[in-house]
Symmetry: C2
Subunit: 407 residues, 2 copies
């Protein structure tokens, strides 16, 4: 008699974006003529740049020819792409070996699956608010208790607040696996080297592991801010970095990412090299490599031309962020993020809740945003706005907010 | 203090293909002039057909244009592709709804991850021999005990032998999750409707779930043999089908597959629809959709033109299978499979073990095969030969076996 994984019963039934859809649909049912302006989901909107399109095309053409056709590649990724990523890190003075880099079909699956190589009694710490995948994947895998109110038992929530600049203090209790995301989704906060250093010191002392999600690294323009956790001394001994082509190259639909598991990383019962080999075993057993077409595109994205072309797309999104920021500040709202990150984090006026502000934005400005409470209890009272969008749509949303939002 | 998932320690350290590489390399080191002929790995070798290449190209071009660019799609897959698969099944008189079909990046990840939606105390049954992913994914997830000899404690091995035509008898004991693969990897055996029906009856009676791997369905030419388990009465109430474009369209490197979780499937503590929604939740939380380029290719592969063009590639591989089969039979070897499946399953001469026959093939004919013992204890005494390969390479291997193998 088969049974189900009961941990699924612990998950909230209404996933954030499902509830957003529901409320949006209800609004449209009542206001069929309203033209909705969407600043909610962090989905790229601009076409892939010419040099990367050329790479993808090349990937397809290779498959049409018996001399260049390839089937299964290494589950860990194409050797050329792994080496290109070694060079990519070397530019930031981070020395990695190609077999410390594992190509994947994106940051989300890696962020969700990485917990599976660690012990089932691991205590998880997450930034609060955080990308829901860190929490949900651990709930499903049984690393938490049940949900009580807005939090799961057994997870350590590290509040990110206006007071701490939306980067958490190092935990005071014992935790084993620490998820950090910088530039942050949803707050747009970017950790300094000093802030990351505090976590690295904690992890080294307690033999904890940091899972560092750097999926938005390419939005950092301030050269003093670290784009990789390995720019911090000691990080290779305690940190795994998860990364992606999604937001740097418009690959949200193409699906390509990577995870770095440095060989010096050692923990209890696993000497240097062991965690690297565990992830390799996980990937070779349960994954079959990223698409060879996507990997050709990734190679092109890492070329000098690809990097330059992508930079202008990123600059465009960041121009969106500036426009949105300016409008909201003029409205008298408290706005965070949106400087070295594509997300803005906005305090709801007065004592309004996230969902109340969501409803107000929808009703008055016809703008769809993301309620901060959906990312964790400390997100309550905030909304997230994404800078991904066509310029004309962003301008229309900004105009509508300017004209119609009553703050 | 982080710890590792100790279940990884239960896994054999030397994965089958690693050991094959090691022995092959050792042979080449001693015989640097030998030209190796590889019939080992089940990897497609022929280029992707023109109509599917056109689909992939179209997928790339869409991404270059702001009007047609797409980022994140539904994690469950593109609606058009799901509907095309509904039509694909309808041709075999199997009625499915599009939301019973989940597009993925291939059969391997789905086969590995499907266990995660079931209870941790589930008793797993596998065909013996079997594709190693079924067993290894359950070992990693803690659904088994340790390995003793050639088997893991807690797994029910269902022997596939010459006596039962390499399709197992229904278990006599209680099992909860049953993995079946037809056409089978590695034996090349194809289950009849009657044989599948026996398992469906067992599953319905015991409320067990069948995980049916149909990745090689397109190699069946005998119209009486079922290409989908849903051709069997009652299967929708108890079976999940995992499938792939890898072997039907040369997508081993492109990465595209699908899994069917019918809504009528109900088990203990999960009424109809619940298992479907669990897999949906798993995929939306831990996966981010298959590549949009690959999905355009998949659509083209399901078109009339795509199906016809792919059929001739499949016919070519099956011609390879016939050539290999003929040669081995002439050599006096006992050969199974290779008729409605791209794999041949060959009894080692006399009382030779799998690895001994592997070594003999390598030493005498310079042909690399796959030792049957790597797929489970009942694979001992057999080797697997794959029909995937360019015609000239297959002919060279066959000539070498004919001339040099001493049976």
């Amino acid at each position: 008699m088969a049974t189900v994984n009961e941990n699924y019963n612990k998950l909230s039934s209404d996933y954030l974006f499902v509830e957003i859809s529901r409320r949006t649909k209800a609004f449209l049912d009542k206001n069929p003529d309203a033209k909705l302006l969407r600043l909610g989901i962090g989905n790229t909107t601009e076409p892939i740049v010419p040099s990367v399109i050329a790479g993808l095309r090349f990937g397809v053409e290779k498959l049409s020819n018996p001399k260049t056709y390839t089937g299964y590649g290494d589950e860990q990724g194409d050797a050329r792409l792994r080496k290109a990523l070694v060079d990519f890190y070397a530019k930031r003075d981070v020395a990695l070996a190609h077999d410390e880099i594992f190509i994947s079909d994106g940051a989300k699956p890696d962020a969700a699956n990485i917990q599976s190589i660690f012990g089932e009694k691991s205590v998880i710490a997450v930034q609060d608010p955080a990308y829901p995948v860190y929490v949900d994947s651990n709930v499903i895998s049984g690393h938490t208790g049940i949900k009580k109110g807005a939090t799961y038992e057994g997870i350590v929530y590290m509040p990110c607040t206006e007071q701490n600049g939306f980067f958490p203090e190092v935990p005071t209790q014992k935790v084993d696996i620490i998820y950090l995301c910088s530039p942050n989704n949803p707050t747009g906060a970017v950790a300094t080297k000093e802030q990351l250093s505090g976590f690295v010191d904690y992890a080294l002392e307690r033999k904890a592991v940091i899972i560092f999600d750097a999926a938005y690294h390419s939005y950092i323009s301030d050269s003093r801010l670290p784009r990789s956790i390995y720019e911090v001394e000691g990080a290779k001994e305690c940190s795994i970095e998860i990364n992606s082509f999604s937001k740097s190259s418009g690959f949200t639909g193409v699906r390509l990412g990577w995870t770095v598991v440095p060989k010096p990383l050692a923990i209890d019962g696993a000497q240097a090299g062991r965690v690297n080999s565990l992830w390799s075993r996980r990937q070779t057993t349960m994954f079959n490599g990223a698409s060879n077409i996507a990997q050709e595109g990734g190679l092109a994205a890492l070329s000098e031309e690809g990097m330059a072309e992508n930079q202008s797309v990123i600059d465009g999104y960041m121009e969106n962020a500036r426009t949105i920021r300016e409008c909201l500040v003029q409205k008298g709202l408290k706005v965070f993020g949106g400087v070295n990150a594509p997300y803005l984090w906005i305090k709801a006026p007065g004592s309004m809740s996230s969902w109340e502000f969501f409803d107000k934005m929808l009703a008055e400005a016809h703008v769809v945003v993301t309620p901060g409470a959906g990312f964790g209890p400390s997100g309550e009272g905030y909304i997230r706005i994404s800078a991904f969008g066509h310029r004309e749509d962003i301008n229309a949303a900004v105009e509508s907010i300017r004209a119609n939002l009553m703050v």
